[in-house]
Symmetry: C2
Subunit: 340 residues, 2 copies
Amino acid sequence: MLEPERSEPELTAGIRRGERRALAKAITLMESSRADDDRRAAALLESLPAPDEPALRVAISGPPGAGKSTLIETLGLRAVASGLRTAVLTIDPSSRRSGGSILGDKTRMPRLSAHPLAFIRPSAAGTTLGGVGRRTRETMTLLEAAGYGLILVETVGVGQSETEVDGMVDLFVLVLLPNAGDELQGIKRGIMELAGLILINKADGVFTQAAELTHAQVSAALPLLHREKNDAGWQPRVLMVSALEERGIDQTLEALRTFQRQMTANGALAKKRLRQASGWMWDRVHDGLRQRFLADPAVQRLAAELEPQVRRGEVGAVMAAERMLRVLDGSGNGNHVGNH
Amino acid sequence: MLEPERSEPELTAGIRRGERRALAKAITLMESSRADDDRRAAALLESLPAPDEPALRVAISGPPGAGKSTLIETLGLRAVASGLRTAVLTIDPSSRRSGGSILGDKTRMPRLSAHPLAFIRPSAAGTTLGGVGRRTRETMTLLEAAGYGLILVETVGVGQSETEVDGMVDLFVLVLLPNAGDELQGIKRGIMELAGLILINKADGVFTQAAELTHAQVSAALPLLHREKNDAGWQPRVLMVSALEERGIDQTLEALRTFQRQMTANGALAKKRLRQASGWMWDRVHDGLRQRFLADPAVQRLAAELEPQVRRGEVGAVMAAERMLRVLDGSGNGNHVGNH
């Protein structure tokens, strides 16, 4: 970090006061891949008091082209207009290679970015895990401590990642296009089963009729789905929305609020978060293993030697990996992670 | 393993003779998550001689519902009919939870499964990496050594995983539906850029005209794409195919052969594989780190203690992860991975 580092207590205090700058700094600390930053990040997270009221954590998923970004901005604007502090976590697909500047992404939600009650944070696509940022859970915890009441997580990709994302949030929202048709736009049954709320987007203009048909189809299909992951006591809903005509936006916000109220009252939300915690623990363990290994100077030296040989075909990838892993057996002091 | 284990030299010999049983056993060994199996697997891979002629490794990707499975079976049947030994690696989406029996998947390609020159191997979805099996690269190496000339890898999911898959194969094939329309079925530009061959599937019956339109659209779009990952000297092609009417199947096989011939002659294929090797090395390193850590009895004891506490909310996920990772610092003998 180029700027002088703020101590954890300072950051903690800044976050609790809802300071955007402290929040941004803390998220950057979370996303750092340096092993010592990781320990500082863990200490910071542990230092945060439980929020007075948990935020509602919502994943917004759906096929590319379904209009997720515009819908999130419209929904976010309505939420902040009602006084609800709203945070949006997005993935910037353009930053996969650079891994660096991600400021460009903010322009995707220009009006919401400018609002004092909103906080938008894009993660570089290169650092993602299951279609969301690698540190989405940690970031949500910070946002909650900073007083954000609604956290919208935009996911990228359709397919493998939904189950993982569902394991991080309170509510999984699926955005569909009006022309769902027979195969529901290739959305796999398993994904429908995760959704507690399904939004038929772009229900406007010439698409209105198609949206109504899709709404009817999805509504008819819902009771047939085997919802083994069902949120206890919550009946999934289907709504028609239009970001363009701002149709269904109030109903969507109302559905989110109802979900939160109902699932808090019956204790299901608290139970869900506890179920998710062990997945979170393991993700941090695996990430930590990787970071510590790479921080070892012996590993770095060996990698610098082996990588070019592998690229020239002089050493096979499998043999090279075995040699790297042998560093674990060879170190004499029981601390292969380096002593920094 | 319940059956008596075969030694690596026996397995190596069996694979070189093209024995299906030896091949299946070796793949199971590759997919094992036991640290000692992992070392045996590495030794086996190292013992395999380079094949006389490398197989063509092809990823078949595309949105769910595009008809990938049927197309792969049709293509595979045509390939084996021409005497080409063909292997298919698939993901069984239904096995995410069980992680166990995956025999059911074979029924998805019943005719190809029955052919003596074909080998079909489904991986459980729970063990996937980037939309393909966790050990796809290792399995392809085995198949190549066993004399398979064409390896078709079916991917699941659209979105994040394509770049990863492209990093494992020689050629990335994208299957689209005839009604691509303006947004090309939500297929992101980045994915189009990976494809060396684009197949407009279901180009039959009432869809023929739509397929022709899509073909024209995609053909027109191709030269505009910024193909920075382009395979040197290969001009991407677009073909209309129909598994139902077996249309375009010969042309597809011919395109695969041309790709292999051309890219072998100009050395691009060999270069591509070397570029991919360092990614393979790192994947194995990270996987090995994880396996060795979990094999440590101290880690297992701590996990058994912490996991229930995390699930009851008595210990936070972040703190629990820190405590698990501290095992690395605490062991006195420099070998935290256990001595087995």
